[in-house]
């Protein structure tokens, strides 16, 4: 049966309490797992497409737009797909409220294809 719990605070028996607006505002609103070498989306939520833009560069498009391009924060990770020493992902500020500009780089700070996972947080439109 569907239901609703309305609460401003959650409290753990020993670990303390947290205001539920931290949960609402801090939860990821979109995710994607993408294989940049084979151009395949493996897992996703609130995603409409990924565009392979160039080596190590991708546009990630969302279905439910974010409210603006300033509050979205991106976290992500890469691992090797035959390219050595991949070190990270950088999500530039959102290009639009429905699109992120992702760039994966190697240890020499050069763009390199990767398998990547990304989370988008922020307020939804």
């Amino acid at each position: 049966m569907a239901g609703k719990i309305i609460a401003d605070t959650q409290e753990h028996s020993t670990a303390g309490s947290i205001a539920t607006n931290y949960v609402v505002n801090g939860s990821a609103k979109a995710k994607v797992s993408y294989n940049g070498s084979s151009s395949t989306i493996r897992s996703s939520f609130n995603t409409s497409s990924v565009s392979d833009v160039a080596t190590g560069r991708y546009y990630w498009a969302n279905t439910n737009a974010f409210t603006d391009t300033n509050t979205g924060i991106l976290s992500g990770a890469t691992h090797r797909t035959g390219v050595q020493s991949l070190s990270g992902i950088s999500g530039r500020v959102q290009a639009t409220t429905t699109q992120w500009d992702l760039n994966t780089v190697n240890n020499a700070a050069s763009s390199a294809d990767a398998e990547l996972g990304a989370l988008g947080t922020g307020d939804l439109a």
């Binding site: 939520f45 995603t47 409409s48 497409s49 565009s51 160039a54 439910n64 737009a65 429905t98």
Partner: protein
């Protein structure tokens, strides 16, 4: 499976329902496009969960909603969306074929100056193809371009 009546419900809630109830559909279609003479060709890959929503119907908003939001966003004094309700309160679109879904996605995720004038010029700026028609390796990725041998319609 019958789609619940989502009229007026938040788009995010509809996507949650779809994630729980629909299997993803990996499309074989890819859209290759060029939006700048200074950059290599880009390749749009449809999302499997999004494609499932499109084929199911009753979940996604009409594509014009995204265009309206883009107009708002293009205003110099834009700070945040105030018409997000368009995403949630506009009647969802009915079920699409895979081909119709690709057309929708082109209009949503590819710059309008590409799809509105894709066949103007010496060669097409956009091509819909199958995944198998793309280069099978990533060699010279930053030099990829739509073939000059393709004639504009």
């Amino acid at each position: 499976m019958q789609t619940p009546s989502f009229k007026g419900s938040h788009l995010f809630d509809r996507l949650c329902w779809a994630k729980e109830n629909l299997d993803g559909v990996q499309s074989d279609y890819r859209v290759v496009y060029e939006d700048s003479v200074d950059e290599c060709a880009k390749i749009l890959v449809p999302d499997p969960n999004w494609m499932a929503c499109a084929l199911q119907g009753g979940i996604l908003p009409p594509v014009w909603v995204y265009h309206e939001l883009a107009k708002d966003e293009a205003q110099p004094d834009f700070k945040k969306h105030t018409r997000g309700y368009l995403l949630h309160q506009t009647d969802p679109v009915p079920a699409m074929t895979e081909e119709e879904a690709i057309e929708y996605l082109i209009q949503k995720d590819i710059p309008s100056h590409v799809w509105q004038t894709w066949d103007e010029g010496n060669k097409p700026k956009m091509v819909i193809c199958s995944k198998q028609q793309l280069p099978q390796t990533r060699e010279w990725r930053n030099s990829w371009a739509i073939s000059n041998e393709l004639a504009a319609a």
